[in-house]
Amino acid sequence: MAEKEKAVARGPFTMEVVTPERVLLRTEATSLIAPGLEGYLGILPGHAPLVTLLGPGVVTYREGGQEKKLAVSGGLLEVAGDRVIILADAAERSEEIDVERARRAKERAERRLKERTPGLDLERAEAALRRAVARLRAAGAEG
């Protein structure tokens, strides 16, 4: 019994990424790096139970020996046993990202932040910028 538990803890963990629109991903992963609010954090099999808020950024995970990326705009990550659940406000696989659109969004956000027109919602513009950069990074086009 104890041996079995150990084996489960060491093997790949189940990783689920769910957004309000759909279940984006349900897979077996062997490692995971996620954008926690206080910096990126890594999850390996057998991680202690954890709940953390996510900021906009890139989720990198290893699935079948291959490294894959997702852009998330924020949300929550829970590690419980051999399961990791990411509840994202919005998330996209790297191959789904519209790079052109992300680039335009980034430029728009940067322009807004530079011009600082009165009445600018600074927090929103910054969040938009972080989201756009995250999407560009996940898509492999450096932001």
Binding site: P20, G36, L53, L76, I85
Partner: protein
């Protein structure tokens, strides 16, 4: 026996109605198709979130989270989600009936928050306090609107205007089946379910921050989900109702056409008889 002219007129009028009901059915079907996938693929998110909250609650105390704090109920709030428009079979009537029953059974003072014109119009003429009303929701619920409504509901709860909030809406099962139901929204109570062994969670940044961000989000998603389910139910109910109406119209047209043909036949027979009688009289 109605005259041939009357019959003709009625057939024409029913045919017109049938065209309208058929068009409405097709429009509802198209709208349903659009929203149906969103409803079904959106369900896991809310379920997972409820699951996570359930697990957290097993290990942490929600007591200091104002959104989860139960208190003595001086006033219960009911959010009634109906459609803006009718011609959807029993859809609105079923929801209003359920709301009416709940209010009648409620021994504490209660107030309504109406979403959708039909529910508002019904309760406006009755002695029930309506705290808020939202109308003109469109064909597909907007997440931003759901957020606005959810924030307002949380504010009403936190300000003490209401001490409990329930959602009355219709859950979508299929185009043929939608069932009105009541869900508790606030205070947030973890779903009863498997009480797993409490785990010691590490919280980042901290338990308070995590729950403080998670609970309002959960409330927003609940409202959004209810709006989506309600909208899909509405389109489904309307589609089914209009399908029946189109069928009934076809049946009526068939019957009337039969009477019309009979009347025509009788008229012709009458004319022949007259001609024959006339010819005989000449002999």
């Amino acid at each position: 026996m109605p005259s041939m002219r009357d019959l003709k007129r009625r057939i024409k009028s029913i045919r017109n109605t049938q065209q309208i009901t058929r068009a409405m059915k097709m429009v509802a079907a198209a709208k349903l198709r659009k929203i149906q996938d969103r409803v079904i693929s959106g369900r896991p998110y809310g379920d997972k979130m409820a699951e996570v909250i359930g697990r957290l609650v097993a290990s942490a105390d929600l007591g200091d989270q104002p959104l989860a704090a139960a208190r003595e109920v001086r006033k219960a709030g009911y959010v009634l989600i109906t459609a803006d428009r009718g011609l959807a079979g029993g859809y609105n009537a079923n929801l209003i009936r359920l709301a009416q029953e709940r209010l009648a059974r409620e021994d504490r003072p209660a107030a309504l928050i109406t979403i959708g014109r039909k529910g508002r119009d019904y309760f406006r003429r009755r002695p029930v306090e309506i705290l808020e009303e939202y109308t003109n929701l469109g064909d597909a619920p907007d997440p931003a609107l759901a957020r606005r409504i959810a924030r307002r509901l949380m504010q009403l709860f936190l300000d003490g205007a209401v001490d409990e909030v329930y959602l009355i809406y219709s859950r979508f099962y299929s185009a043929l089946r939608q069932l009105p139901r009541v869900d508790k929204l606030l205070p947030i109570t973890p779903p009863p379910g498997e009480k797993k062994e409490a785990q010691e969670y590490i919280y980042e940044p901290g338990q308070k921050e995590v729950l403080g961000a998670l609970l309002p989000r959960y409330c927003e998603i609940q409202v959004y989900r209810a709006l989506l389910e309600a909208k899909a139910s509405e389109h489904g109910a309307r589609m089914t109702a209009m399908d029946h109406a189109t069928e009934n119209a076809a049946e009526m047209i068939e019957k009337l056409t039969l009477s019309f043909n009979r009347a025509r036949q009788a008229a012709i027979t009458g004319e022949i008889l007259e001609v024959v009688a006339g010819a005989e009289a000449l002999q």
